[in-house]
């Protein structure tokens, strides 16, 4: 008979046709980095970075609501962001720290997503040959990668558009955020892009904001019911908030021309430029 073939490294003497698909890392990194060498650890990292990005998305959405208070308040908010930390910190210091943090989070989130996806593909080399009938997996959970990528591409576009002004050309005014946003959003294709991306984001969050509780091991009978509600509410909030911007811009409720006040109330260079444009 087939003599006993070691199955797990040399740890088990029992027989079986199966061989490991994945090998354990040759060297385990010291704590806590070793965590990231495992799938469960990576999922944990996805949860943590997901929360960081959720925090960003929420704050970002709330911040943008200032748009409805007009250019002055809006630009004031933008300026406030740059000076978070007051005199204690260099100008834009905290902002940059936050940006770097977010960038790191996004990088880890994407890297985990990519590596885990590869693992999952290899775990079932031959797919089911007859149609599957899913009963729990929903649209959101099965399109995480797609919605994630849509959001990623959108974020890149969004940065190119509003941070570096690549697409607005002449119309882009560094510092006059109100101007840039309203100009950008009043173009139909761009507004549609926002629509698509934010629906994708909401779908991503509908699963992600529930899933992270599992990945992080936050569960207790008392609030388990509430986890689904939380995810739906969070995704809905972001969806409504973020979609209002392109929609209200397109329908003209918010517009470039409705500005009546100077964009930045207090002095400084931006104020001058911005007022100059308004002339």
């Amino acid at each position: 008979m087939a003599t006993t073939t070691p199955a797990r490294g040399s740890q088990s003497s029992a027989r079986g046709l199966v061989r490991p698909t994945f090998s354990q890392p040759r060297r385990r990194l010291p704590y806590p980095f070793g965590l990231y060498q495992t799938a469960v650890g990576k999922k944990w990292v996805m949860g943590v970075t997901g929360i960081m990005m959720m925090g960003f998305v929420l704050v970002h959405m709330i911040g943008n609501l200032h748009m409805y208070e007009g250019p002055a308040k809006y630009n004031e908010y933008a300026e406030a962001l740059r000076t978070v930390g007051g005199a204690l910190m260099p100008r834009e210091g905290v902002l940059w720290a936050l940006r770097l943090g977010l960038l790191g989070a996004a990088a880890l989130h994407i890297h985990s997503a990519a590596t885990l996806t590869i693992i999952n593909r290899r775990s079932r080399p031959l797919a089911y040959q007859s149609p599957r009938d899913y009963s729990a997996a929903n649209f959101a959970s099965r399109t995480m990668r797609a919605t994630g990528i849509i959001v990623l591409l959108f974020v890149i576009f969004h940065l190119l558009d509003l941070t570096w002004g690549v697409f607005l050309g002449e119309d882009y005014i560094t510092g006059d955020v109100y101007n840039n946003v309203t100009r950008s959003l009043s173009s139909l294709p761009i507004a549609l892009l926002y629509l698509l991306a934010n629906i994708a984001l909401a779908v991503h969050l509908f699963h992600g904001a529930w899933s992270m509780f599992q990945s992080l091991g936050w569960n207790s009978p008392q609030f388990n019911q509430a986890r689904r509600v939380f995810a739906a509410a969070f995704a809905g909030l972001i969806l409504v908030g973020n979609l209002s911007f392109p929609i209200l811009n397109l329908t003209g409720v918010v517009s470039q021309d409705s500005r009546t006040t100077p964009c930045v109330a207090e002095g400084g260079e931006e104020t001058r430029i911005c007022l100059g444009v308004n002339e």
Binding site: A7, R8, Q11, S12, A14, R15, G16, L17, V18, P20, T21, F22, S23, Q24, Y31, P32, G34, L35, T38, A39, V40, G41, K42, K43, W44, L116, I119, N120, R122, S123, R124, P125, L126, A127, Y128, Q129, S130, P131, R132, D133, Y134, S135, A136, A137, S141, R142, M144, H207, W210, S211, F213, Q214, S215, L216, G217, W218, N219, P221, N224
Partner: protein, 254 residues
């Protein structure tokens, strides 16, 4: 009843496989699904054809031997029911029933719809036990276990090791199986001494064979024992903690 059975036939682990279709008249609604396959097999044999290989033993939903994809659902359409407990009355006259083996890199097909699930044994061997050599245990009533804890441990321990969770999972992950065993042992006072070492070892062995969880929840829908997803959350928490705890425990050796 008359049904059409479309079954995956594959001669060996490396042989190519394909579906074959059989017309099955005379099915009684009181037959179990496996009894229907028995009838098909007897007819195949009398026709000089090779009968369908499928695993089964207890036929009462407890040994975990049986299991196949039935119309794209592990263990078929009835919730909380293993294949052997499924009855033909859940189908209708004229139905086509498609039967396919569990598919996962960790569950190689042996023949037809029989797969090798010994990867599960590897996970248990890695640490799915409480080390109590024969004779070493104190009086059973010395360790008091609150009823809710004993009940929760029993809920987790009800797993029959059938593999439906892996089969159902779009990522072919074994989280439900592994977490059920971990929860069973990690919840009990007797299991505390080895809790962190066990968690680390079992999770890392699991990851050698299986995919990673994306929290679809398909496993729980397919599970004949309706094992809760909460155990997966508990495993994730314990795993992350174990990395820290084990480091601490080791640092006490000087």
């Amino acid at each position: 009843m008359r049904i059409t059975l479309k079954v995956w036939r594959q001669d060996g682990p490396t042989a190519p496989g394909s579906f074959e279709t059989y017309d099955v008249p005379g099915v009684s609604p009181d037959m179990s699904f496996l009894e229907m396959l028995d009838v098909v097999n007897d007819r195949l044999t009398l026709d000089g054809k090779r009968p369908i290989v499928f695993e089964h033993d207890c036929r009462e939903g407890i040994c975990g031997s049986c299991g196949m994809m039935i119309n794209g659902v592990p263990h078929g359409p009835e919730r909380g029911t293993a294949t052997c407990q499924l009855h033909m009355r859940k189908f209708h006259d004229g139905d086509q029933i498609v039967v396919e083996p569990w598919r996962s890199a960790a569950f190689p097909v042996i023949r037809d719809v029989a797969v090798d699930r010994s990867a599960f044994d590897r996970i248990i061997e890695a640490g799915g036990y409480i080390s109590t050599p024969t004779g070493a245990a104190p009086d059973a009533n010395l360790t008091l276990i609150p009823k809710p804890v004993a009940d929760a441990a029993m809920d987790a321990a009800a797993c029959i090791g059938c593999g439906a969770c892996v089969a159902a999972c779009p990522n072919s992950a074994a989280q439900l199986f592994t977490s059920a065993k971990l929860a069973h042992l990690n919840l009990l006072p007797q299991g505390q001494a080895e809790r962190w070492a066990r968690t680390e070892a079992m999770v890392e062995t699991m990851e050698e064979f299986f995919g990673s969880c994306t929290n679809h929840g398909e496993c729980r829908e397919a599970c004949p024992k309706e094992i809760s997803l909460d155990f997966i959350a508990m495993m994730n928490r314990d795993y992350v903690k174990s990395k820290r705890k084990n480091r601490k425990l080791l640092s006490q050796i000087r």
